[in-house]
């Protein structure tokens, strides 16, 4: 039951964060979502049997190793893609359309004017296409 509740809470929090503005929140949302799915796979193997299949352990009570192998692989892949997403969050800062443009611009202080100018150029360039 606690496993099901954890999966539910993680998935709900993940979906909530993915729907927020800002790339960092979206990335954190995906981290939670992948955790939810990893727990789901562990739960899929059954958690009642948890003995080790060696050192004289009872094999009928041995834990299912396959979901653990799945989760291990999935964690590595999710980690790699999270890194890619994090890279995309910091490069090309001016075109991040997940950010609230007006809100973040006002905090930029000195750079604000230059960026606004660059933006207008960018937009006029973009219109041509």
């Amino acid at each position: 039951m606690s496993l099901a509740l954890s999966i539910g809470v993680l998935a709900a929090a993940g979906v909530f964060l993915v729907l927020q503005r800002g790339m960092i929140r979206i990335i954190l949302g995906f981290v939670l979502l992948t955790h939810a799915v990893n727990l789901l796979i562990i739960a899929a193997g059954g958690v009642s049997r948890r003995d080790a299949p060696f050192f004289g352990g009872d094999t009928s009570q041995a834990a299912d190793p396959l979901p653990q192998a799945f989760v291990l692989t999935a964690i590595v892949i999710a980690f790699a893609i999270t890194v890619v997403l994090a890279t995309f969050a910091v490069v090309g800062r001016r075109d991040d359309d997940t950010e609230d443009v007006n809100g973040s611009r006002s905090q930029n202080g000195v750079d604000g004017e230059l960026e606004a100018q660059l933006d207008s150029e960018h937009e006029s360039g973009g219109e041509r296409r």
């Binding site: 993915v18 790339m23 979206i26 995906f30 979502l33 992948t34 799915v37 789901l40 796979i41 739960a43 899929a44 193997g45 396959l66 979901p67 799945f70 692989t73 999935a74 892949i77 999710a78 790699a80 893609i81 890619v84 997403l85 995309f88 969050a89 490069v91 090309g92 075109d95 991040d96 359309d97 997940t98 150029e121 960018h122 006029s124 360039g125 973009g126 041509r128 296409r129």
Partner: protein
């Protein structure tokens, strides 16, 4: 022979991955990059053709990884369906890579490596018969794609790449959850061991989660919106490459899962039918309203996915055969049309229908062939595919669907005629020359697309080009309504599209052969007992 090839099946994944890895340490401009890149893609094509020949008579090649007994190991399987799609995917990769070499995009860092790793992932996804392994190979396909999007971004804009990564990560997470659920219900993720498991409602729902995730990846309505945005600002050659590989691999897996797990169960196939019909109609309608060539083609692609899925939704021998023929046709023709869009954008710096006009080169021939083929006119491959699909729908009693297919084909023809009327026909205005000049300056100085070029510099460049090209042969430059002096699309950018449209003509005339191939492939989908037997090693 068969035994040796079976043993070599994992090489379709291993060899491209290994070579791609080696190319990472080869210096960027070393000729080895392109030679090894092209060589391995051609070898992959050759290998795929060998597979197709060996599986033609219904043989199923299986390799159990590490020779574990069937049902425990991860199986690699090649039957006539997967071999056929592998061949076409390899053709699209070879020709897209050739375009990248011609356009100079292959000079960007690591391109050959990334394309090879992508090809390896595609090989794995098409050959594996284990759902978790499939998830891994889809990720292997996606990671180099992110790199390609990033390195070859022509607008220096990350928004589209972010969207692409986010959508795909969401779909992959969903797919993984589906695989976990299937394991929870059935205790296995081996596709052959799941044969017929769709009768059990819990398994059916778990598998439907996987199909939902694949629908996102295949850009099926209502989750198709990301495609035009993400591919729209990638390099056009990359869009062509992805169009032949990513979405089609997802559709291939939908075919496989529907046939093995659901065995064409009526209720599920009706659901797919509804979604497919909506996809093909929505794609064609949206394409009508687009004002740039690439988004227009990308929505045609969405429409095409709907056509392909109609084949599996019918789940009659004729329907599956037609769907597979359509898939082959669509991969070839869509790549051709996107490469045509690439050549135009690369030369004139814009794909807007109202800015570029009066193109009269060999590209016109390629466009006419591909466009008519996509619309489904004889004697091109599109005619064979659409004729078979309409006949199959009518034969299965789905007269409404058959009518819809014909109406949507007319809509496609209309939007392609708009491209013809605006870009290829019509008088060339001076503006086009300025655009081309700006693009040349941008490419020379390595600037992104959005950067504004000094208008004097552009005008000088345009004048220089006009002088170089001189008046057209035998015609007085003044008063000729079809005066087309000035920048032409270089032949090297046209050849890849011409080759693909040539292939479409070939597939049209050789329609009998293509239908025969697809029939072999579909008979294995209808009766999966051979597949299951081969994979389980019984």
């Amino acid at each position: 022979m068969t035994n040796i090839v079976e043993l070599l099946l994992p090489l379709f994944v291993g060899a491209p991955l290994l070579l791609g890895g080696i190319l990472f340490v080869v210096p960027r401009h070393h000729p080895l990059q392109l030679i090894m890149g092209m060589g391995s893609l051609l070898a992959l094509l050759g290998g795929a053709i060998v597979l197709l020949i060996l599986t033609f008579d219904g043989t199923i090649l299986v390799h159990q990884i590490a020779l574990w007994p069937g049902g425990i190991s991860i199986p690699f399987v090649a039957d006539s369906f997967s071999s056929l799609i592998l061949v076409v995917a390899a053709i699209v990769s070879v020709i897209s890579f050739q375009y990248m070499i011609a356009s100079g995009e292959a000079q960007s860092p690591f391109i050959a490596s990334l394309v090879l790793i992508l090809a390896g992932g595609v090989g794995g996804a098409l050959l594996t018969a284990d759902l978790f392994n499939l998830f891994v190979f889809i990720e292997v396909m996606l990671l180099p794609s992110y790199g390609l999007l990033l390195f070859l971004s022509r607008r220096g804009d990350m928004a589209a790449s972010r969207l692409y990564v986010t959508v795909n990560l969401l779909a992959s997470t969903l797919f993984l959850a589906g695989v976990g659920l299937i394991y929870a219900v059935q205790g296995t993720v081996n596709l052959a061991a799941l044969a017929g498991a769709g009768d059990d409602p819990a398994t059916a729902i778990a598998t439907a989660v996987c199909l939902g995730a694949l629908a996102v990846k295949a850009a099926v309505f209502p989750v198709h919106g990301w495609l035009a945005r993400a591919y729209g600002s990638a390099s056009p050659a990359v869009a062509a490459l992805f169009s032949g590989l990513h979405t089609k691999v997802a559709v291939y897996i939908v075919y496989r899962i529907s046939s093995v797990v659901f065995e064409g169960d009526g209720a599920w196939m009706t659901a797919i039918m509804v979604v497919a019909a909506l996809t093909l109609a929505v794609g064609a309608f949206v394409a009508l309203g687009e004002s740039e060539i690439r988004p227009l083609m990308l929505f045609q692609m969405v429409s095409g996915i709907g056509f392909i899925l109609i084949g599996v939704a019918l789940f009659t021998p004729a329907g599956l055969t037609a769907g597979i023929v359509y898939m082959v046709h669509h991969m070839v023709v869509m790549a051709s049309l996107l490469l045509i869009a690439s050549a135009i954008e690369q030369t004139y710096g814009s794909g807007r229908l109202d800015r570029v006009a009066g193109l009269r080169t060999l590209l016109t021939a390629a466009f006419v062939i591909s466009a008519l083929s996509l619309a489904g006119l004889p004697p091109f491959s599109g005619f064979v595919a659409k004729y078979a699909l309409v006949l199959a729908s009518a034969g299965a009693g789905q007269v409404l669907i058959a009518g819809l297919l014909i109406i949507v084909s007319l809509l496609s023809l209309m939007s392609l005629m708009r491209v013809w009327a605006d870009m290829f026909n019509g008088k060339r205005h001076k503006d086009v020359e300025l655009l081309a000049a700006e693009e040349r300056i941008r490419q020379r100085e390595g600037l992104f697309d959005g950067v504004v070029i000094d208008s004097d510099a552009a005008a000088a460049e345009a004048a220089r080009a006009l002088e170089q090209h001189g008046p057209p042969r035998g015609v007085l430059a003044s008063g000729d309504p079809h005066d087309h002096r000035g920048t032409r699309i270089p032949l090297r950018l046209v050849i890849p599209a011409l080759m693909l449209s040539g292939l479409s003509v070939g597939l049209g005339f050789g329609g009998e052969f293509l239908l025969q191939l697809a029939e072999h492939a579909s008979s294995a989908l209808i009766d999966t007992s051979d597949y299951v037997e081969a994979v389980m090693g019984r």
